[in-house]
């Protein structure tokens, strides 16, 4: 017991010290899908710490992944807690996998057996990793630096996940103050990136040798984004919530704005 305590203590201290070199972790919401039994499930942004796949709700807190069975909504049940260490930030579901953004990188878990997530691989990075999103080919993460205690790295990292057991960092692009991100629904090569006070941006990732900025909305202090199947885009900013028509992925047309008060 005593040993355990010491280990925990060391881990905790490690966490705090680590955080010293890193940047933050606000998070987003995640994503996702309808399911087998026609139960309608919502969609979050990339900063999410809760996500539902079928009858299972997965949550991350700063140190663990939890699995809840919600088949009977009147009586949900905590099935499992998996300790992940420290600095856990976001969770994103894609193709029976969970992509977990942490301050050290990205963890990939297989949830083919939804009750027992199994670790497949991880991508480590020197600085803090904010949210991560994924599709069939790539996992894309943003890293934000810039506070007094940590480095100045602010980047978009593109990770090849064709082989999930061997993810490879294939490209990076410099950013300024990145938070959430999301794939466009109308153009699979377009990724929206919320670059904090530096605005909402879109990048074309069809040529990884030369990732091109194809849209820049400077006035939006963007934090997170949800690209909806109806081609609309919901953008959380420091000033409030915008909705856009994103039929043309790089030329957004504002539909409405809910201001903070």
């Amino acid at each position: 017991m005593k040993k355990l305590k010491i280990v925990l203590l060391a881990a905790l201290c490690g966490a705090v010290v680590m955080s010293c070199e890193k940047e933050d972790a606000t998070t987003t919401e995640n994503q996702n899908n309808n399911t087998m039994n026609q139960v309608s499930t919502g969609t979050g942004g990339s900063m999410a710490q809760f996500t539902i796949i079928g009858s299972y709700l997965y949550t991350v807190d700063y140190k663990s992944l939890k699995v809840f069975l919600i088949a009977d909504p009147a009586n949900p049940e905590l099935l499992e807690t998996i300790n992940l260490g420290v600095g856990i930030e976001t969770i994103y579901p894609e193709n029976d996998h969970l992509f977990i953004g942490t301050q050290n990188g990205v963890l990939i878990y297989d949830v083919t057996n939804p009750r027992s997530p199994e670790k497949v691989s991880e991508v480590d990075h020197v600085t803090s990793c904010d949210p991560v999103i994924a599709n069939d080919h790539y996992a894309i993460a943003t890293l934000r630096g810039g506070t007094p205690c940590n480095g100045n790295l602010n980047v978009l990292d593109i990770i090849d996940i064709e082989d999930l057991s061997n993810p490879i960092l294939v490209a990076s692009r410099e950013l300024i103050n990145p938070y959430g991100l999301g794939f466009s629904n109308t153009n699979e090569n377009i990724v929206y990136v919320c670059d904090g006070y530096a605005g909402l941006k879109a990048y074309d990732i069809s040529n990884l040798e030369m990732i091109e900025e194809v849209m820049f909305m400077e006035e939006l202090e963007a934090i997170d984004v949800i690209a909806r199947e109806d081609n609309s885009l919901v953008v959380l900013t420091r000033q409030g919530i915008y909705q856009f028509d994103a039929s043309n992925a790089t030329s957004l047309v504002q539909k409405s704005f809910i201001s903070i008060q």
């Binding site: 305590k5 925990l8 203590l9 905790l12 201290c13 966490a15 705090v16 010290v17 955080s19 010293c20 890193k22 940047e23 933050d24 972790a25 606000t26 998070t27 987003t28 919401e29 139960v39 309608s40 499930t41 919502g42 969609t43 979050g44 942004g45 900063m47 999410a48 710490q49 809760f50 996500t51 539902i52 709700l57 949550t59 807190d61 700063y62 939890k66 809840f68 919600i70 909504p73 009147a74 949900p76 905590l78 506070t147 007094p148 205690c149 940590n150 997170d224 949800i226 909806r228 919901v234 959380l236 409030g240 919530i241 909705q243 539909k255 409405s256 809910i258 201001s259 903070i260 008060q261």
Partner: protein
């Protein structure tokens, strides 16, 4: 044990302050301070017709509704059937709430250490269903890096953090 851990976290943080922070002589800096609640307030969940949106943390789309978390305070529900003109329907006040998900008309949300289950079949009148107690750890430091006001457990439970000006902060992340 839990208390031990909190104290440990605090000590680590203090140690860190020395190792990491630069000397700040009577300096006023931007940072975070804890929002406290008494044990009694923690589980107090209620629904209000109106509540201003102040500090949105998460956005979420469910059917024709847009749900928005107001950090550490609760969840706003908007009728979004007309995206050109979303209408505020209700606000579920949930102390400490930072995240949530919705499936089949049921909302699952964190309420400090608990998982809260709310029926939103009628989003204009959400109804408390149940909770699973003590499933989430309490984070004794803000999400953001930088300076923060050290946690004083005698003031209650930490349910969230708010940005503020700090004079000579002693805790850093």
């Amino acid at each position: 044990m839990k208390k031990g851990m909190s104290v440990t976290a605090l000590i680590c943080t203090l140690l860190l302050a020395a190792s990491c922070g630069k000397e700040k002589n009577d300096e006023v800096v931007q940072g975070y301070k804890p929002i406290y609640a008494s044990q009694d307030d923690l589980t107090k969940v209620d629904v209000r017709a109106d509540e201003p949106l102040q500090n949105p943390g998460r956005i979420y789309v469910y059917e024709d509704y847009l749900l928005v978390n107001d950090q550490a305070k609760g969840i706003h529900i908007y009728d979004n059937s007309n995206q050109n003109n979303p209408q505020h329907l209700s606000f579920i006040a949930i102390p400490g709430n930072m995240d949530f998900s919705v499936s089949g008309g049921t909302l699952y949300a964190d309420n400090v250490t608990d998982m809260l289950i709310v029926d939103i079949t009628n989003p204009a009148a959400p109804a408390y269903k149940s909770r699973i107690s003590n499933v989430f750890p309490v984070q004794q430091f803000p999400d953001e890096f930088g300076a923060f006001e050290c946690v004083d457990p005698s003031k209650g439970f930490v349910i969230g953090w708010e940005k503020t000006e700090l004079t000579n902060p002693k805790c850093f992340k």
